[in-house]
Symmetry: C2
Subunit: 337 residues, 2 copies
């Protein structure tokens, strides 16, 4: 029996292209003792994966050329030789992108998403939800009446981050790239104001939207968009830095040049902090409990943009950099059984 896996064919220099990726046909392996065979249902594509395609130091190992990409996967157990997993179980893990795989079960955990689709384990009840939670609640720490700005506000993380700030009583402004996203964050998510950066004069729009300055800026994008935020930072502002997608596709030798932060951080006596979900491993239980309850109560909305078929992974990934997705971008490989 044959299946396909998605290989890093060539490291990209700048924006990834079709040549970055390659599909390879391999055998479907057989599980040995204590192993299980998984069928991939959903694959998560995330901006941070771009960093792993380059061969530089980072907080995760780079992908290897000729080896499969790995990332967030939700899969179903097809055969089990392990006591704790039975056929039909839904699991998630950080796994190679291939249609079927054998695992020794140390890299996976069972998905418990109540009545929700198991794909939420890659979305609001997975890494993006946790990223929003820890960045906003543990670093941003918004207070009632404060002004919070979220960039990438209609994306996988931004859609959650802004709602968390609303729940503590902050005034929340989202920066987005389209009218459709603006409508989504204000009408569905309850953001107070949407600012569309493509309309131009972002600095002026932001100033108007934030007459009392900015207390928390949830940094999702970097680049020129964020440069317009810095002059508005209030005293003791907090800037959790979740991502800087605008810088991920710089070519070799290019640098991310823009406003230096030091003068703004001094003026505002502000704090800026990079983080990843793993830094808060001691608080996973707290975060899952909070997010699950909020979703179950209908207090936390979320959207997913889903492409169909294993072959659509490269396109789904590349779409992240042109902002095609509303909410979490996922690829549905096949239905569960």
């Amino acid at each position: 029996m044959k299946q396909e896996q998605l290989i890093l064919q060539k490291r990209p220099n700048g924006m990834p292209t079709k040549e970055t990726f390659q599909f390879r046909e391999i055998e479907i392996p057989e599980p040995k003792d204590e192993e299980i065979l998984l069928k991939t249902l959903y694959v998560s594509v995330d901006p941070y994966m771009r960093g792993r395609m380059s061969d530089g130091p980072s907080y995760v190992e780079p992908f290897q050329v000729g080896e499969p990409l790995t990332g967030g996967v939700v899969a179903q157990v097809i055969k089990s030789n392990h006591d704790h997993f039975k056929k039909g179980d839904i699991v998630r893990g950080n796994l190679p992108f291939q249609e079927y795989q054998v695992t020794n079960t140390t890299q996976i955990s069972k998905v418990e998403t109540g009545g929700l689709s198991p794909r939420t384990a890659l979305s609001v009840l997975g890494m993006p939800g946790l990223t929003a939670y820890f960045g906003m609640m543990h670093i941003g720490e918004p207070k009632e009446g404060e002004t919070v700005v979220v960039s990438g506000a209609a994306g996988a993380v931004g859609q959650i981050a802004g709602q968390l700030a609303k729940k503590v009583g902050a005034r929340v402004i989202g920066i987005v790239g389209s009218k459709e996203k603006a409508a989504y964050i204000t009408e569905t998510l309850g953001y107070d104001v949407a600012v569309e950066y493509k309309k131009g004069n972002l600095a002026g729009q932001l100033k108007e939207a934030c007459p009392n300055g900015i207390d928390v800026y949830y940094e999702n994008v970097g680049g020129n968009i964020s440069d317009a935020v810095w002059p508005l930072l209030n005293t003791f502002a907090r800037v959790p830095v979740c991502g800087a997608i605008s810088s991920y596709n710089l070519k070799e030798g290019e640098a991310d040049i823009g406003l230096r932060m030091q003068p703004f951080l001094i003026k505002a006596r502000a704090k800026m902090q990079g983080f990843i979900v793993g830094d808060f491993a001691d608080h996973f239980h707290e975060a899952y409990a909070f997010l699950s309850e909020a979703v179950a109560n209908g207090d936390l909305k979320f959207e997913e943009t889903i492409k169909e078929g294993f072959h659509s992974i490269p396109e789904a990934f590349l779409g992240l950099f042109s902002g095609e997705n509303i909410g979490k971008q996922l690829v549905k490989v096949v239905d569960g059984e």
Copy 2:
């Protein structure tokens, strides 16, 4: 009886010039009930004063054109109509720069520097010492064996900051602008390595000096020097931002352009935080006690560069931006009695 005061004659656009300043002759005032008459002994010139010369929002009010500059002053009581102060007492305060002045005593406090010159109340036992202490100990939080880099390492704040990191067992590298300063920080202060940025290839020099990366960067200068630091930040690095002198003399409409911080903060999951001494008012007692004891024990060295005469204040101030001073730059107006 006449005296002089130092006036902001014209707001500078870029680097201050002679036209920025003006000396004005005024009467020596007479103290009323509950007031005292002070004679200025020492005046502190500090880089942050440049910000107050411009008419923009900051954490301190701008100086007013035609009004005296104000800053750190050590003075002696000449006449007292106040029970708590007697003739001969030495006080410090944030006061107008003039040779004599009357105060109602709410803006001043008595100087207690043990056997040290009262001018240390503007130096190691004053704002620069506190700035070093809070930035390094409360934000940088170096640990034994970590690598700490201090820019402006031979300056008023840097000379203290690096020694504090040495006291907790860190390896400390100082960035300086001259061979003389390099000798001072390594031979007198006990820094492990001095890196002279004017020698060129700062990135290479730093990499060699920090084979294990950088855990704490005490940010004193900003600009190109700091841009060379960012790629070396270790996981969970801390960057207290005390000053960015390189950006203080930008002309109107110029921006401080260089490396954006976001990619570095994410890669290292690092924290960068601006602060001023006043943010730590609850800890002043702790800091004074620590610094006083360390100085008394001979555990904390410091240097002062002293210009003589009230008329030398502008020159002393301007010298800060060309790095003329070793240690704290002060102006001695006159001897105490």
